[in-house]
Amino acid sequence: MLRLPRRLPRLSPPSSRLISSTAPKRSDALFIHRDTPYNNPEIAFKFDAQNLKRAQEIISHYPPQYKKAATIPLLDLGQRQNKGWTSISVMNYVAELLEMPPMRVYEVATFYTMFNREPIGTNFVQVCTTTPCMLRGSTDILNTTCAHLGGLKPGETTKDGKFTVIEVECQGACSNAPMMAVNDDFYEDLTPETTKKILDAFAKGEKPKPGPQSGRKTSENSAGLTALTTKPYGPGEFCQPEFQ
């Protein structure tokens, strides 16, 4: 399951297997670029002054002949400046900046799924559906999210351009499963209700408090602490007198 918006329709497996043909299995994202009015090399892209300074800072971390090591951070910087997606112009610009063949940048940008190569909505909702989250009910969360945003399918963007929803793999917050990430923040311990609340807040342009939504602190036991419940002893306690 790749983490990219604009999913192509999935083919259902053929009911009977014919000898004469094999159903094509398409990938769920295009790994070739086709010029479109909103994404073509003619559209200019350049880092703004602030990002250019950051880019130079990043490049300076690497020896000059291995400048290309900065590809990923620079693409990320470009994606942030370009409304959350990496257009062909962003890739070309990074290639030019790092003096490398553009193809080497395309390879990186298509390999890593967190580079969105198609435009996304203002709020990028990434619902984790990997095993731990799934066991904790992520299917509900995904369905709620999609339904609440007006019947989207994963990979689609709402008409008003405010939300894009996709399914993603483990985000490393399994202890607080189920979870979703909206833009750069994690919302954890979700229930369908809290999910709706979060989405409503984002719709209004607010930013709800990130972290567990169940009220617990980080990933502490929700039933209260079971270990380390006594007061931790201070320095010197139980030590030889000369150390007290």
Binding site: P13, T22, K25, R26, F31, P41
Partner: protein, 727 residues
């Protein structure tokens, strides 16, 4: 997905870091001590640093492979080459593992078989079953290896379908069928390392990984056809050859290429009277394993515009067909009628004239009392002896040898663009530039070579300035210290208005530097010829005497001369054209004699190094065409000056008498050390069309449109209609 081969053993890694920003693809490590290991119970000794796969080969145990290729960097991504190594818990990919001293390797155990079968099963799970309509059928590595390691039924019942990948448009030469790709990345490595097109790569990941350029682009390289040979499956096949023949129907003839002066070794595959395709033959001294696209694809030009019968121009200026005796008689009558005597009889040899015919024609013209033996050089030197002279062979040869280019540590290009004039040689320079800290400087029209160079200027003045040491810069500095400096002068220089000055300057420079450029173990002065016939022309002394140069000819014999300036041919002269294509030369002629193209005759060709090689006839000549030297020999009889040889052996004896090296095929005589005398633009503006064969070729015309004039046309239809042959 390229693996950077460890460069720890490289001696000069410090200076490398300071020079090369982009040269970190891979390196060939210096040869070190030998190590011994056991493969399948046999002891083998291989140089340290060899891959395990090489050790296995050396022990005579063949290893199946897809991604490994001994001229490309190691990728290790197909896993077909798995072998068992004692005390290793898992099978080991033998191409990516170094051979270790004392290792005990098994290549033929049940474990190995099962591992390879597993790999094959995965490869086939996504591979289309379209062998019957695949052009690679019969020479497909996947097909061959699946005979041994493939399973006859699939275990993948749960998958929804096979991976589908869109085809890419790589240009008029390479046809793609990307569903068949097994992602070995050989093509990507070739494009990046050898051809220098850094546009080909892999996009996506995992099961969806695909080969392509990501954006819509064509593969703009003179060497792109080689990816067809490299591709182990039918993903990249030849567009012009698509659906034309099966490999088992073809007759293979080993020959040499004549469309540039490198003399690349080729294999001509023919069916009946038609050349179906041309493929490279390995020769490490010349073309390694590559050939240029012109070499590979101009063959369809051999089917069009051919001269098939003798032609005589009638009174209304139209050609009428004639029989051989009539045509020869017409020539004799023409010679008589013009009353040409001595140097007024002139022969002009063109690009594709073979050595045998040159010798015979020279003998004929000499017997008619003339020294007027010109070639179709361009510019004011067309009729004059070449500025570099021909008395000393090293004055016009590639003295460092083609393989020797790789040991140069500084190269000065003068008025040449090797990418167009000798595409395969250019890839050697690129190889050396990638793997060593070679520096390249260029005087002449700036061109897009596939390696970095310092542009020192456009004209002879710039060269003078550089040679006199007045130029500062990295290249000048490195040149001054170079142990093996190499000067490469384009053959266009001999035809340039400043040619004499340039050769003079270089000769003085070479002499002044004493042992630096020319010495016992290194001859760094090179002339890069771009025309196949020139080295033989000079070797056999096919040049005019000074006296002949100024004579106005009355009788002109054009031997394959299609690049002659029509203005240089007096209107009242009687002109005979002998050649295989009805091109510019034939248009000027009064009588046309149909000869053989290079695939139709067995003849000697001398390459730019002075290496003579034997081309062989793959197909019979069309119509009434005859072997060229025989035509000239027959003409000599009609003209009443019988030449003293009856057969090819006789002609070759004569060649031996002129220069023994001409008939020591495949060998290379060292050149003597003397250099007696030695915008500079390259004269080659369109790589794809330089001679009659490539001008008549449909594929080369498509390439010109795609890469030279860059017209936007759909190339889809190409290769679909069967090409009409002349015969």
């Amino acid at each position: 997905m390229l693996r950077i081969v460890a460069s720890a053993s490289r001696p000069s890694s410090v200076s490398l870091l300071s020079v090369a920003h982009r040269r970190n693809l891979s390196s060939t490590s210096a040869r070190q001590a030998d190590i011994t290991l056991t493969v399948d119970g046999k002891e083998v000794t291989v140089p340290q640093g060899s891959a395990l796969i090489q050790a296995c080969e050396a022990a005579g145990s063949p290893i199946p492979r897809f991604c490994y290729h001994d001229r490309l960097a190691i990728a290790g991504n197909c896993r077909m080459c798995l072998v068992e190594v004692a005390r290793s818990p898992k099978p080991v990919a033998s191409c990516a593992a170094p051979a270790m001293p004392g290792a005990v390797v098994f290549t033929n155990t049940p474990l190995v078989h099962e591992a390879r079968e597993g790999v094959m099963e995965f490869l086939l799970s996504n591979h289309p079953l379209d062998c019957p309509i695949c052009d690679q059928g019969g020479e497909c590595d996947l097909q061959d290896q699946s005979i041994r390691y493939g399973s006859d039924r699939t275990r993948f019942h749960e998958i929804a379908g096979k991976r589908a990948v869109s085809n890419k448009d790589l240009g008029p030469i390479v046809k793609t069928s990307m569903n068949r790709c097994i992602q070995c990345t050989r093509c990507v490595r070739f494009a990046n390392e050898v051809a220098g097109v850094e546009d080909l790569g892999t996009t996506g990941r995992g099961n969806d990984l695909q080969i392509g350029m990501y954006v819509e682009k064509m593969m703009d390289s003179e060497l792109s056809g080689n990816v067809i040979d490299l591709c182990p499956v039918g993903a990249l096949t030849s567009k012009p050859y698509a659906m034309q023949a099966r490999p088992w129907e073809l007759k293979t003839t080993e020959s040499v290429d004549v469309l540039d002066a490198l003399g690349s070794n080729i294999r001509v595959d023919s069916r009946g009277v038609q050349v179906m395709r041309v493929q490279p033959r390995t020769n490490d001294n010349v073309n390694e394993e590559w050939i240029s696209d012109k070499t590979r694809y101009a063959y369809d030009g051999l089917r069009f515009q051919r001269l098939t019968t003798p032609l005589i121009k009638g009174p209304d200026n139209r050609f009428v067909t004639a029989s051989w005796p009539d045509a020869l008689a017409a020539i004799a009558a023409g010679l008589n009628q013009t009353g040409a005597k001595g140097n007024e009889i002139k022969a002009i040899a063109g690009h594709l004239a073979d050595t045998e015919t040159l010798v015979v024609l020279k003998d004929l013209i000499n017997r008619l009392g003339s020294d007027n033996l010109a070639s179709d050089l361009e510019g004011k030197y067309g009729n004059a002896p070449p500025v570099h002279g021909i008395d000393v062979r090293s004055n016009y040869s590639f003295n460092s040898t083609i393989a020797g280019v790789e040991s140069a540590d500084a190269i000065l290009l003068v008025g040449t663009n090797p990418r167009h004039e000798a595409a395969v040689l250019n890839s050697r320079i690129r190889k050396s530039w990638l793997h060593t800290d070679l520096v390249v400087g260029m005087v002449g029209t700036r061109a897009d070579t596939t390696y970095g160079f310092e542009h020192l200027g456009e004209d002879a003045k710039a060269l003078e300035k550089f040679l006199s040491g007045k130029v500062k810069g990295e290249f000048a500095e490195r040149w001054a210290q170079a142990k093996r400096p190499l000067i490469m002068v384009g053959s266009s220089m001999a035809e340039h208005a400043d040619g004499e000055a340039v050769f003079g300057m270089l000769a003085r420079y070479v002499a002044a530097t004493g042992e630096r450029i020319v010495r016992e173990d290194w001859n760094g002065f090179n002339v890069l010829q771009r025309v196949a016939s020139r080295p033989a022309l000079y070797e056999t002394g096919f040049v005019p005497s000074r006296a002949a140069t100024s004579t106005t000819p009355k009788f002109i014999f054009l031997l394959n001369a299609d690049e002659v300036d029509p203005a240089s041919i007096p209107a009242d002269a009687f002109v005979v054209y002998q050649g295989h294509h009805g091109d510019r030369g034939a248009a000027l002629a009064d009588v046309c004699l149909p000869g053989c193209a290079y695939t139709e005759k067995s003849s000697t060709w001398v390459n730019t190094e002075g290496r003579s090689q034997l081309g062989r006839a793959a197909v019979p000549p069309p119509g009434a065409a005859r072997e060229d030297w025989k035509i000239v020999r027959a003409l000599s009889e009609v003209l009443g000056v019988d030449l003293p040889y009856e057969d090819l052996v006789g002609v070759r004896d004569r060649m031996w008498a002129i220069s023994p090296s001409l008939v020591r095929w495949d060998g290379l005589e060292g050149t003597s050390l003397e250099v007696a005398k030695a915008g500079l633009g390259s004269l080659m503006s369109n790589f794809y069309q330089t001679d009659v064969v490539s001008r008549a070729s449909v594929t080369m015309a498509q390439c010109t449109r795609a890469f030279v004039t860059r017209e936007k046309t759909s190339l889809e239809g190409l290769g679909k209609e069967p090409l009409q042959a002349h015969a």
